[in-house]
């Protein structure tokens, strides 16, 4: 089962290597990973999308907590957190497909951020499922390049981490 884990870590060099090394060394999966400082500059937040059964998830959480540089591990599920991802999508847009791309962008409330005679570059945000959905529609029109940030997640209301 897919899980989104948010890891609050010391904002120091080498910390990402420790976290990533833990996953590779112990055979845990990383579907996506994103990292940036929090409002407290001494901390970074790593969001990892991973998969595994309950026993694997328990080990991942415990092993992360064991790292000295890890301050907090949050295991998010759909009902206690909101998840978003940003994607930059370059799609072929010539002749009649130019209008079709614009319609899709409009429906998904995405934005065109670069235009050439032969392509549009789209910025889309949303839950990963929404990104997948827009990609499914754009793919037949000629997907030229795709860059995704990977998910970030934040707890709903009081759930989560201050900072």
């Amino acid at each position: 089962m897919q899980h989104t884990i948010s890891v609050v870590v010391e904002n120091e060099f080498g910390v990402l290597a420790r976290v990533a090394g833990l996953f590779s060394g112990r055979g845990f999966n990383i579907d996506s990973l994103s990292v940036a400082p929090t409002s407290d500059e001494s901390l970074s937040r790593i969001t990892i999308v991973t998969r595994g059964d309950d026993a694997v998830l328990e080990q991942i959480t415990k092993q992360l907590n064991k790292l000295v540089d890890v301050i907090k591990v949050l295991d998010f599920s759909e009902d206690n957190a909101i998840e978003r991802e940003l994607a930059l999508i370059k799609v072929a847009a010539e002749d009649e497909s130019r209008a079709e791309v614009l319609r899709i962008v409009d429906i998904f409330r995405a934005k065109i951020i670069d235009v050439t005679p032969k392509s549009y570059t789209i910025e889309a945000t949303g839950a990963p499922a929404k990104i997948n959905a827009i990609l499914d529609l754009l793919r037949p029109l000629g997907l030229k390049e795709l860059v995704r940030t990977g998910s970030v997640a934040i707890g709903r209301g009081a759930k989560g981490w201050k900072g």
């Binding site: 010391e10 080498g14 420790r18 060394g25 328990e58 080990q59 000295v68 890890v70 301050i71």
Partner: protein
Amino acid sequence: MKMNGARILLESLKREGVDLVFGYPGGTVINLYDELMNVREIRHILPRHEQGGTHAADGYARATGKVGVAIATSGPGATNTITGIANAYMDSIPMVIITGQVPTPLIGNDAFQEVDIIGITRPITKHSFLIRHAKDIPTIVRKAFYIARSGRPGPVLIDFPKDVQISQAEFKWPESVEIRGYKPNLEGHQKQVEKAVDMLFVARRPVMYVGGGVILANAAAELTELARTLQFPVTTTLMGLGAFPENDPLALKMLGMHGAYAANMAMTHSDLILAVGARFDDRVTGKIATFAPHAKIIHIDVDPTSIRKNVRVDLPIVGDTRDVLVKMIDCLKGQTEKVTAQHSAMEAWHEDISGWKAKHPISYKQSTSVIKPQYVIQKLRELSEDDAIMATDVGQHQMWTAQFFEFNQPRTLLTSGGLGTMGFGLPAAMGAQAAYPKRQVICVCGDGGVQMNMQELATLVQHRLPVKIVVLNNNFLGMVRQWQELFFDKRYSQTCLELPMDFAKIAEAYGAKGLKADKPSEVEQVIKDGFAHDGPVIMEFKIAREEKVLPMVPAGASLNEMVLNA
């Protein structure tokens, strides 16, 4: 007062109570070594290889419970410590390794003798630090020692660039350190302890399964008290040997792949396993699917990741094993009637266990013509002092030592359990002997492993460390040969050490004493002469070449499917 970084590091070590380090000089630690000449309080032992120095620091830590310290230069010096670090990591040994590093501006430039030792050792250290400013040294050293020795102990590496060793700063020792991401959970949860005690009372076929965590937490006395109060049988892992006296009637001895029949049968038939500071390693459990099928499991461990890693657990208690055991003992004190009732309810179980012990005790066939290795181990126990420290290498001799040398005190067995490092024994014994110059320190090796760090004979002689090295020589890499005999149709691929070595002569060449025995009748005298000699000795015993370690649970088999005679 301002001083250079090298001196600040040494002053910090002094503050941590370090009086002995094992290290090897080189280009990027030359400043540190220069300062060392001004610091009389720190004794330095010079091994002949950084791996030896690291294992020696490890052996020192195992024998004393203190943090072992090893120093190496950058590049090859640092990479030579890797096996020693991994070995300490797998067995949770508190150690601080200080490596020289090329000057900060050169890091990343492939400078002479540069390696990214922090990167290389990341998966085998509990934590690591790169020192970037001399003023940070006291805090880093303080943190490193705290992390190394607290919670589940482990090795911590400090990488120390040459320019930082030279630069000047104020020495300010921090009164305390705060690491916000590191808060080991030491206090066992009282409610969980009470639940555990309730489970103990309803058990009819209980076993205490005890690992190295009990020794690391200095909890052997509490464990022994708990076992005797409850009258529960106790089996120990290899790492747990010495946590419970093996001469106690409740002792089942070691379990697992080469464990005692009674211990493995007790685990298989148990209805409650009280696991204390043990991690259900594959050498202990055998086939997981059939492991202890009837047992509820209570697991006490300071490391939450050990719990439910390999087996299901009915009741976890995270905490320092000593703290949890003390709470359990306290909890039992108010319930003496239940304890007594429990004793009588276990009579049938104790009879079963006595039956298993009598049916297949750990044994071997004695011979009058050829030396049996088990006989040598028995004689060593008989002729050695009660508090003798035994270090082993890895292989058949290690298992024979575990089976036949009776361990009755904690910190008297130094052995590489998790990593299984050949070459560990001799330098580990060296570290223990350096810590305890007056105690008897014995090192049992095979003819394979002893040659992996034999250069440390020079260190023993130079520093007058009278380690008694026992080489059980079968001219084979015996454990692998045993597997080849049993599971590979006797195809002895590369396990015969063709060259007949004269280990006694090697000892003499280093200035140590060399003794040897070819016949069983000579064994006792050689051991007596070796023990009587005031200095390092190699005692070589030409043993039965194809003797096997038995019983044996073949890899992947269930614990009760033991090969008893093969």
